[in-house]
Amino acid sequence: MRNPKKFLLPIVAALSLVALAACTSSGTTGGAGAPSANPAAHEGGTLHLVAASAGGTLDPQVNYTLQYWQLYQGAYDGLITYARTGGAKSEVIVPDLATALPTVSADGKTYTFTLRKGIKFSTGKTVTTTDVVDSFRRLFKVSSPNAGSWYNVIVGADACLKKPASCTLDGGVVADAGSNTVTFNLTQPDPEFEAQLAMPFASVLPATTPAKDLGTTPIPTTGPYYFASYSPTKSLVMKRNTYFKPWSADASPVGYPDEIDETFGLTAEAEVTAVENGQADWMYDTPPSDRLVEISNKYSSQAHVNPLTAMWYLGLNTNIAPFNNEQARQAINWAVDRSSIVKLYGGTSLAQPACTILPPNFPGHVNTCAYTKGGGDTWKAPDLTKAKQLVAQSGTAGQSIGVVVQNDSVNQSIGLYMVSLLNQLGYKATLKPLSDNIQYNYIQNTNNHVQMSLTQWYQDYPAASDFLQVLLSCASFHPGSDSSINIAGYCNKDLDAQMTAADTQGLTDQKGADAAWGSIDKAYMAESPLVPLFTPKLVDFTSSRVKNYEFSAQYYMLVDQVWLK
């Protein structure tokens, strides 16, 4: 998933926990991090969050932003979920509304869940198997963003994708009220199906929920909180769900604050000041660069730095000049000084140069660096001479290149560096900053003839396919569409076939599959449809009264698990 701050990212940081712990400068738990003998003593208070803007629709089957995925963790539940805790366990899938992880048939095409009894929605209505089935039908009816790419393996999904309004998923999701079970029948085995069921899109909602994006209208929840009000121009308020009775400390723990509110409309500068002054407890947006030093030096105990499984990269449009020329694309990979870009992002404490598409410590990642001066497994320095030679050989020197970036300071800063570099290489480059709200869709649409764009990708769940297949497969390229996540427009059928084979191999031989993904990553880098720049880290800045900070690799700070008392 893309920008954690905008389109967001679910994340399952596939960083090994060891790396996670090692790289977390202030730890995954902050303040009084040790478990209390009496957790109930820490309940109470109102947690104040601040953000520059709202995250869009509140509908959990439509919203695809980290901003609200973080909040959904205290509100919505699916049959299974990622453990809501900090550390390594946050990458583990645990049963949620289901009593246990699914029973999977030998052919890998049938998943059976038993629903817990006695769980109620925030309206007081009991959750039934009918709610589960209707929730999956609704997922197609509201055209959930990943309905066609994640849940299309369910029997009947094809028909639902063609005619969402009449979606029944006949034979695909089958409820048995007698045994209180729900069975999913797939058209083919899918090694990532469980991970996809653990995403907020698969939240269980009341069967009576209208089959349309409900926008600002809150939908009843099953978790410890419900959404009491939402005004995208002002604020969002979550209050305790009085019908909530804890059933799993791993999947849906009791929240500590009595109320959580998020106020919109502050600048990032104002957010920092509000947190420093104790007027807010946490800021959603990344602290601006001119405040990082201040936060680092004066408020170090309130700053929490965590590594992400993500990648900032340049997409090179392989279908138009000059990057329809492989040598021109390779020249950019040779020329980019990753250490300079890391500096522009905030320095070595916040990012590491990247050489591969798969992030470090991610399934399939191989330590290798095809484009570094002097060779080696890690990036050392750019080779401008080689880059200039390649530009000359490609015959593309002198051509105009537009570099499309988001108009925030960090993106513009990196874009400006790229313009300068491209001019050095002999191109005639111009910077084209666009509003955060439209840039991501703009760069995907081939009608806009974007040659080079700066963007980010954050994992949805820890699988190599979530990077390579999503970002570079032929199926992800949709000319003329705003939803063409293969921004490079690169289509290599041989590599597509290799990815399909690696996917299948993963069902029986994960180690072999990981090796295959590593080779595919290398093959893509040789073709250079994109330029990996760096692997970022996340800074959470909290007020001094916030304790028990926990960082989930999947959903970042566990908002409702902080103590205010």
Partner: protein, 343 residues
């Protein structure tokens, strides 16, 4: 006795009269405010023109290229111009502050590792160039429109006046922003005209267009007033053609007003250019103008305020100097002008 012999009965030659331009110039030179403003402007222009000299021969830097890995020498030690924070959690990178040493980074570095002082000088060239050229263009085009509309009247006046109304109907910055967004996205391609988005001609054209009514309107009124005066009627009576009357009689009478407009419009246009560039819809990076440098400094306001303050101060000084000079020129050339204060 020396000198020419005076012939009896021949009247002595009349003393040469001093023309209005010379009178005006004399008044200007006797006005200390005008002199100070002019000297300040001259100094700023000269310093800005010396930008390549400073960047190339003194600081040895490229003001337009990102220089993230650059180093400089401070107190005998070579240091990186973008310094990684090493305290606390080690977050953030800070550009170095002013070295107060002309050999490099006199006003410190910006977020791209570029010499702020070098960019300030280059930025001044750009801002002054755009401000002055667009002011002259405004005055020339505005005078032309005002002359034609006011002198010929009738349908010609109606059409030109409505066009001016149309431009004037838009809030000036809204119109400028709209034009900038459209033109700076893909440049201007109109038949044989092909102007790239980063060409300075675009902000000049935009600013000229939005301010033409501010010059044309008062000049049209002045022409209408002149048209009824005796000397114009006398010219018509003597059989002079329209264009001759326009050129020889009308234009000469409105010329002082046009000249008064130039410094005032230059100040106004500089501010407009800076505002647009600050909003990223004026001068395009990596080119520099004082507006773009203020924008660059916005992200460094807490740590390196000099980056934003320096161009801001330069802008204020220059705009004030142009306005004072403009007022003085008006007092000298057009003392009866009703319009006072800035445009």
């Amino acid at each position: 006795m020396s000198g020419a012999t005076v012939t009896e009965g021949t009247p002595p030659p009349a003393p040469r009269s001093i023309g209005p331009w010379r009178v005006g110039l004399g008044q200007l030179l006797r006005n200390p405010v005008a002199v100070v403003a002019f000297v300040v402007l001259l100094l700023i222009v000269v310093v800005c023109l010396a930008a390549p000299l400073y960047a190339g021969d003194i600081a040895h830097t490229d003001a337009f290229r990102s220089n993230v890995t650059a180093t400089t020498i401070i107190n005998g030690h070579r240091v990186s111009v973008l310094q990684q924070n090493k305290q606390g959690l080690g977050l953030g990178v800070e550009p170095i502050g002013p070295t107060w040493n002309l050999s490099g980074y006199f006003l410190g570095a910006d977020g791209q590792g570029r010499d702020v002082f070098a960019r300030l000088l280059y930025g001044g060239r750009t801002t002054l160039l755009i401000g002055f050229v667009s002011a002259v263009a405004c005055c020339v085009l505005g005078a032309f429109v005002g002359l034609i509309a006011g002198y010929f009247g009738g349908v010609v006046d109606w059409i030109l006046s409505r066009l001016l109304d149309l431009i004037w109907a838009f809030p000036v910055y809204l119109l400028a922003i709209s034009l900038s967004v459209v033109l700076l996205t893909n440049g201007l391609r109109l038949g044989p005209i092909d102007i790239e988005p980063d060409n300075l001609a675009l902000p000049i054209m935009i600013i000229t267009l939005i301010y033409i009514p501010y010059v044309a309107r008062p000049l049209r009124g002045q022409v209408l007033s002149l048209k009824g005066r005796e000397f114009i009627k006398a010219s018509i009576g003597l059989g002079a053609g329209d264009w001759r009357i326009l050129r020889r009689e009308v234009l000469r009478n409105i010329l002082p007003t046009v000249i008064v407009f130039i410094p005032l419009m230059t100040a106004l246009n500089m501010l407009t250019e800076s505002a647009l560039s600050f909003l990223s819809i004026g001068v395009q990076p990596p080119n520099a103008s004082w507006g773009t440098i203020i924008n660059d400094g916005l992200d460094l306001l807490y740590t390196r305020p000099a980056v934003a303050l320096a161009p801001g101060i330069m802008l204020v000084i220059t705009a004030v100097a142009f306005n004072l000079l403009g007022d003085s020129v008006r007092d000298a050339l057009d003392p009866k002008a009703k319009l006072r204060g800035s445009i």
